[in-house]
């Protein structure tokens, strides 16, 4: 597999991810009941694998929705302006919302989503992210459920891509610098 040749090292193994999604679901199970009927909102595309795995272990009733977002141009502006490519199918006013992200780094995208959802008057909003990269944070955002803290390295796999590659790696790896520096 040539994909593996581009991986400098495995940061989080498949087994570690499998174990963590179960305990992370347990953290949610302790906080929510059937009556809360939270709506989980998956931010595409990166979070779909994470979503598909931890939600199998949820024991409270919940609903699912999806949102796809794109930033303008290359990278995020400090204002965190983004384009919503797919908006929610559901009305979240008065609902308990759990945002499901693959990674929180600068916090700009998440901050945009949080402000957007506040304007829709959700009853409560919590954030679940597979990866957290606090060293990159530019704006403070609340993150309630964190799969793993990662250092400021170019991470790929388990939903995270570089130029639409590596998403389907079963582990979180660090991309070799020559792969992204050559572009």
């Amino acid at each position: 597999m040539s994909l593996f040749d581009d991986v400098e090292k495995v940061l989080i193994s498949e087994a570690e991810i499998k174990e963590r999604v179960v305990t992370l679901a347990a953290e949610m199970n302790a906080l929510y009941t059937d009556d809360d009927l939270p709506i989980l909102i998956c931010i595409l595309k990166g979070a779909f694998l994470f979503l598909a795995d931890f939600t199998r272990h949820l024991t409270f009733r919940h609903e699912l929705d999806f949102m796809e977002i794109s930033s303008y141009g290359r990278g995020m502006t400090s204002a965190g302006s983004v384009r919503i490519l797919l908006d929610l199918a559901s009305d979240i006013q008065g609902r308990n919302v759990i945002i499901v992200e693959d990674i929180v780094d600068t916090g700009n995208t998440l901050n945009y989503i949080l402000r957007n959802f506040a304007a829709r008057r959700a009853a409560s909003v919590r954030v679940a992210t597979l990866l957290n990269k606090p060293s990159r944070r530019k704006i403070e955002v609340p993150v309630d459920f964190i799969g793993f803290e990662v250092p400021d390295e170019f991470v790929i796999g388990y939903g995270l891509d570089f130029a639409e590659q590596y998403r389907n790696l079963p582990f979180i790896g660090v991309l070799k610098p020559e792969v992204y520096q050559n572009l």
Partner: protein, 186 residues
């Protein structure tokens, strides 16, 4: 494994192990059929919301390089099932032209949605266009439509789980189950 059933579930139709084994078989066949393609030549297109779990399990088992994209559809409130007309709410981000396209769907019942997708994507000059569908309800079919990779044929009962919902619930159950009629009859 916790197999406590939610109260609304009548019985399990396809358990987790059965589904996982079948998805692995499908991934093996697809990997063989598309072997040799490069990442940018092979695009999986998942139909939201129902296909997300099938897509997750299928994609990670493919040994052939590929990209993943999602589309979202909605039916017209005023025409609904009669014509099977659907609206595309979100299109693919990737250009379909000259790529090998594999549409990933959770279920085919009347066949209208899949037929619509064949028509839409077929017009965009893909290198090839095929479909991978987890479930088929042949008793419900109203239009002929080809399915290239099929997981399971099931009877015409209301199924939930593994992406399939009732009123947006039960989608994340790791198995496919029959809903108690009392849930949807009132």
């Amino acid at each position: 494994m916790d197999i406590t059933l939610p109260n609304s579930i009548e019985r399990i139709l396809l358990d987790e192990a059965t589904i996982q084994q079948r998805v692995q078989q499908m991934a093996d066949i697809i990997s063989t059929d598309y072997a040799g393609l490069r990442n940018e030549e092979f695009l999986l297109v998942g139909v939201l919301k129902g296909s997300f779990m099938f897509m997750a399990d299928l994609a990670r088992r493919l040994t052939v390089p590929h990209r993943v994209d999602f589309i979202a559809l909605s039916s017209y409130e005023d025409s609904a099932e009669a014509t099977g007309a659907v609206r595309m709410i979100m299109d693919t981000r990737a250009d379909v032209a000259r790529r090998h396209i594999l549409i990933v769907e959770d279920i085919v019942d009347t066949g209208y949605t899949l037929k619509y997708l064949y028509r839409i994507f077929g017009a965009r000059q893909p290198a090839s266009l095929r479909t991978a569908v987890l479930l088929s309800k042949p008793d419900r079919r109203e239009v002929e439509v080809a399915v290239d990779y099929l997981g399971f044929q099931i009877p015409d009962v209301w199924v939930v789980g593994y992406g399939l919902d009732y009123a947006d619930r039960f989608r994340t159950l790791p198995y496919i189950a029959m809903l108690k009629p009392s849930v949807y009859e009132h």
